[in-house]
């Protein structure tokens, strides 16, 4: 199991009750230790894909394995590898940040005696030292995001999934978060990131997949994807390389 990719998704399909086909046979692989960016316009299927991997959304067809563990057969085992920072703020606003993080450890079977010092350190590292006992409702948007990162890391997951973690975060804080995430990958944590900030993906990711209308439009190393730029009619967009490629790959279907 140790050689298995952090995530392997094959022919993944999702059709919602009302008939919307969010995923149409998506196949992708996130290698262990990778920083993988999943890019796509709004409604492309990124959050649905993450939802299926983390078992928050039921899939219609296909297979998902996390570190070799099939979520259909070994869901609980697969979940132990994953830490999720969702797109929406989803903690109880009436709880204190320290309690939120420590409780999350509890759901993974980690006793409070271990969780408490670990949570304190995570909150310190993420710049929430003075807010541990504050009312979570009163945290700023950036603080809430950092709290969600601390919560996702409390069980020391091997695979961290971040769904637009820097949305609504100011430039300085965003750069601090980049550094924090880069350090995590250096320590061996695999990261799957979705973001609308393409410069963020360009700076951080080793591998990229661009998803559009529920299908993978391009996938490869960052260099592979950026090399597409040479063959495109660039100059049309006054933007970065990745952004030009992204717009080129997603414009037809969005038109």
């Amino acid at each position: 199991m140790t050689d298995a990719p952090a995530l392997r998704v094959e022919n993944l399909e999702k059709t919602y009750k009302e008939g919307t086909k969010a995923l149409k046979g998506v196949t992708l692989t996130v290698p262990q230790g990778d920083f993988f960016a999943l890019l796509g316009p709004n409604g492309a299927g990124k959050t649905t894909l993450i939802g299926i991997v983390t078992s928050l959304v039921m899939k219609t067809a296909g297979t998902v394995t996390v570190f070799g563990h099939d979520i259909d057969r070994e869901l609980e085992k697969a979940k132990t590898y994953i830490g999720l920072v969702g797109q929406e703020v989803n903690f109880n606003p009436f709880e204190k940040p320290l309690d939120i993080v420590v409780n999350q450890a509890g759901y993974y079977g980690i006793p409070r005696s271990i969780a408490l010092p670990r949570a304190e350190k995570l909150l310190d590292d993420l710049g929430l030292k003075d807010k541990k006992q504050a009312n979570s409702m009163q945290l700023s948007g950036g603080m809430k995001r950092r709290l969600m990162i601390a919560r996702a890391l409390i069980h020391q997951p091997k695979f961290l999934i971040l769904d637009e973690p820097t949305a609504g975060v100011d430039v300085e804080l965003r750069r601090q978060m980049w550094e924090y995430l880069e350090n995590l990958t250096k320590q061996g944590t695999t990261i799957l990131l979705t973001t609308h900030y393409l410069e963020e993906a360009e700076r951080l990711a080793k591998h990229v997949a661009i998803i559009n209308k529920g299908e993978i439009a391009a996938e490869g190393t960052m260099d592979d994807i950026l090399s597409l730029y040479e063959h495109e009619k660039h100059g049309k967009y006054n933007a970065g390389k990745l952004e030009s490629i992204f717009l080129e790959l997603t414009k037809e279907k969005n038109a």
Binding site: G51, L56, M58, E88, N92, G106, Y107, Y108, G109, I110
Partner: protein
């Protein structure tokens, strides 16, 4: 997860809810105490004295088990329905558990545990209040404890189903108001079914709360409208059925996983 990790997970869900209950005690425990004071005052002391003995005991003694059960049923049910629903709909922090390796049955156990704590504590508070109006002899302590816990478990499980299915706040208030309250009142809180016409007596046997109240009343007074074994069997069957439904709903993600 090994057994120890499962215990930690269960304890975390339970502890979190109990702390919440204690923090908002004026919304969780106080209302039932105030309501039961009014019931004991009006139905027990004022009207009860005119009724005289009922089934060989003072009327206020007769209604104590029913009023305790009323509080237990309503509190267990609404605690789980409300907690689960707000976690699912309002703050969406139910995801914290859903993404974790906590299996569905453990999640059910944690939420039901919270409901049982709320139901049992409220029940004990109402018993305490009743002592100011009458001191009923408790004939079978074991039956009081057993039926107190059984009723909390059953209505916590029922509340969880409601919390899973509810799509808005109306969804968690309709059942307690229009289903539970009539069932409790018609389950024999204030009367014995011997006082009812035969067709109504037959209908009452379909009311699960009737078995709870009577099992509980047996503990207090030593007699009931239904054999204790039958009451116990009906309640165990209900627990099994409700647990199975909850497990199925959470495992399938109905109302939870889009």
């Amino acid at each position: 997860m090994n057994l120890y990790e499962m215990w930690i997970s269960f304890y975390t869900i339970l502890r979190k809810d109990v702390i919440r209950q204690a923090r908002v005690w004026s919304q969780t425990f106080l209302p039932s105490v105030v309501t039961s004071v009014l019931y004991f005052l009006v139905f027990g002391s004022i009207i009860g004295e005119r009724i005289g003995d009922f089934g060989g005991v003072p009327y206020i003694h007769f209604i104590v088990p029913g009023l305790v059960m009323l509080a237990v049923v309503m509190n267990s049910y609404s605690n789980v329905a409300f907690t689960f629903f707000t976690g699912k709909f309002f703050s969406r922090n139910i995801d914290e558990i859903l993404v974790s390796p906590t299996p569905p049955w453990l999640m059910i156990a944690g939420y039901v545990g919270g409901g049982v704590v709320r139901g049992v504590v409220t029940g004990l508070l109402v018993i305490l209040v009743s002592l100011f109006f009458a001191v009923p002899a408790i004939v079978h302590w074991w039956a009081v404890v057993l039926f107190l816990i059984l009723s909390s478990v059953i209505f916590s499980l029922a509340g969880l189903i409601n919390g899973i299915y509810a799509k808005n706040f109306d969804g968690i208030s309709i059942v307690p108001t229009f289903v539970l309250t009539p069932l409790v009142y018609l389950g024999g809180v204030f009367y014995s079914i011997a006082a009812l016409p035969s067709w109504w007596q037959a209908a009452t046997y379909w009311n699960p709360i009737f078995y709870l109240i009577n099992g509980f009343r047996y503990g207090f007074l030593g007699f009931s409208d239904v054999p204790l074994g039958a009451a116990f069997a009906v309640l165990l069957a209900l627990i099994a059925a409700l647990t199975a439904v909850n497990w199925y709903l959470i495992r399938k993600g109905l109302g939870l996983r889009n």
